[in-house]
Symmetry: C2
Subunit: 346 residues, 2 copies
């Protein structure tokens, strides 16, 4: 049976995901029996299309690459244009809403409303947008459960590196007493460059010129991006209804070359570590630079790479290392959520 998708947002991640579908459709169908179809795209700036019998993905990508808009997508019988996101979610025949609109980590909107609308209308929601998970996990997961639909968000932590699905499917049964990790590639890149001698300002500039850091780097360097991921991991992996105000957060902007050198002379390395730790019935959650001994697997994760260690009572410590961002990587995160939904995996 064809699984129908509506994409809310068609920026970097949405297009990355569409490219995977364009290039791998036959492979996915032959090897996994996965037949998916994009029936709708609704983007605040680029416009919207809805074709109940399926849009042509290659054309969609070509049109948006050439014009930046969806307007030039050719007409066909039954094609509707300009449906806004909520109308698309409510009234399209999609089985699953792919929420890849912009992330507002303060309000979580409009993505939270998109999820609510999807679940109320019996549709699954899949996303890489951290907002709904970091700010409304309890409410949204309860609503999805009540409506018998799925709420999936592998891409919200470490993009296509399965930091969420791996523990939920392959470590469950353990008591996970702590998770800690490097959840922000920009700051890890800056710290790596500082170790080779650049000062903070120069390393930041370099990260900006490479596109790792934004013009306003606050969310990365002050730890807020990592904080959102810590909240998600606390809620989803450790089952604790932690909110973002309960996380102590310190970034890396105060670290000097002297700090970096001092760590090096002690056989250690600074890393910006996000951590959730169970302590006597409660959890303590922090984001802060920590000086790790080089024997710690996290200490050897360099450049923009991310990593996470799960401290398990039965399996022992398990570490997962991989990309934490990227168009194709995040597109894959959407794909793996869909594969598991179609397979009916818990």
């Amino acid at each position: 049976m064809i699984h129908k998708l509506a994409l809310i947002g068609f920026g970097n991640v949405g297009q990355g995901f569409a490219e995977i579908l364009r290039d791998k459709a036959t492979h996915l169908q032959d090897n996994l029996g996965l037949e998916v179809q994009i029936v709708a795209v609704s983007d605040l700036l680029k416009g919207a299309l809805y074709q109940p019998t399926g849009l042509d993905v290659a054309t969609l990508l070509e049109v948006v690459k050439q014009t930046g808009k969806l307007t030039d997508y050719p007409n066909s019988v039954g094609l509707k244009r300009d449906w806004d996101s909520l109308k698309t979610i409510r009234e399209s025949n999609a089985d699953t809403i792919v929420e890849v609109s912009y992330t507002d980590i303060n309000s979580g909107q409009p993505a939270i409303d998109h999820c609510r609308a999807a679940f109320e209308h019996g549709k699954n929601a899949v996303m890489s947008n951290k907002g709904p998970v970091a700010l409304a996990y309890a409410e949204l997961s309860a609503l999805a459960k009540e409506k018998g639909v799925r709420f999936c968000f592998e891409g919200t932590v470490m993009s296509g590196t399965p930091a969420i699905r791996m523990p939920l499917m392959a470590l469950v049964g353990n008591d996970i007493r702590e998770v800690r990790g490097i959840f922000n590639g920009t700051t890890n890149y800056i710290l790596t460059e500082m170790e080779s001698g650049l000062d903070y300002a120069t390393a930041l500039q370099q990260a900006q010129s490479l596109g790792y850091a934004e013009a306003d780097p606050t969310a990365d360097v002050e730890g807020y991006d990592a904080l959102g991921k810590v909240v998600i991991l606390a809620n989803v992996i450790m089952n604790v209804p932690l909110t973002k105000n309960e996380v102590t957060c310190l970034g890396i902007s105060h670290l000097t070359l002297a700090d970096i050198q001092q760590a090096k002379s002690e056989g250690k390395r600074w890393k910006l570590i996000g951590r959730v730790k169970k302590e006597s019935g409660s959890v303590v959650a922090t984001v802060a630079p920590e000086m790790l001994p080089l024997t710690d697997p996290l200490a050897n994760v360099m450049g923009a790479t991310n990593a996470i260690t799960y401290d398990c009572d039965l399996s022992g410590p398990i570490t997962l290392i991989g990309a934490g961002a990227g168009q194709t990587e995040t597109g894959f995160a959407i794909l793996i959520d869909l594969i598991n939904i179609v397979r009916g995996n818990v």
Copy 2:
């Protein structure tokens, strides 16, 4: 519904798994809805018990710890004794056979026959025994599929570190072009100790005195243990019907302190690497020591720890690090297979 188990073998792994059930039964039932019951144990040396309504796990463990046998387990109505492994598999009311008898990596027996009997009689088989998977994967997985039962073996590679389930559930959709890793803790421990100055013979002795290496260390130090895991990964993760004779295999017993020092002076480190790589439609599989640059995540895996890197076309390289052996860790590997069977996960 209670899921009934028959344990074939009750050594280290079987008892480790039984201890987890004894200690975590309530937790597993409350949190995962997993209700399992051991109805039979059949061990070649310790004897056998079958109680269709369930054996008492705590008593089972206590009896075997105190006497080394199952004989003193108390009588009860309906209890049968001395059923051999095949009779237990065929005639007990178990839903799943837990194959934790001894591993014969040359013949795979009697474990292969145990799997055949289980599948023929509509029972799942779960194991940490490498034999059936390394030697008869194609036949056994086809038979299990035909009979509509499950063939699970997370514990055969890296024990409770989910080197098999993670890629199957969380990386599928990728083209995995290469897997490579440290699959033998004994040799990695020896190499780690050699780096701190011990010669090979002394490091081996130390590994033996700590219980990492056997009296006859051949299977570890010549790479045969890693080879079995390479064959499993080729078959299961990369879908290639590789047999063990097709793997080039070299161990670490020829490495000298001078080799170790030379690598160190080049900023590198020797690791015994198992590798399966796709090359123009076929695969090349090897076990051999390799000098890795310290920027490789595998280079920083020290002591008895194991690790694996999957090279994925969409997610990029993903590395998983964790224990590769241990009674509780391998017991967990059995548990996670059962959890996924009971959940009906693909």
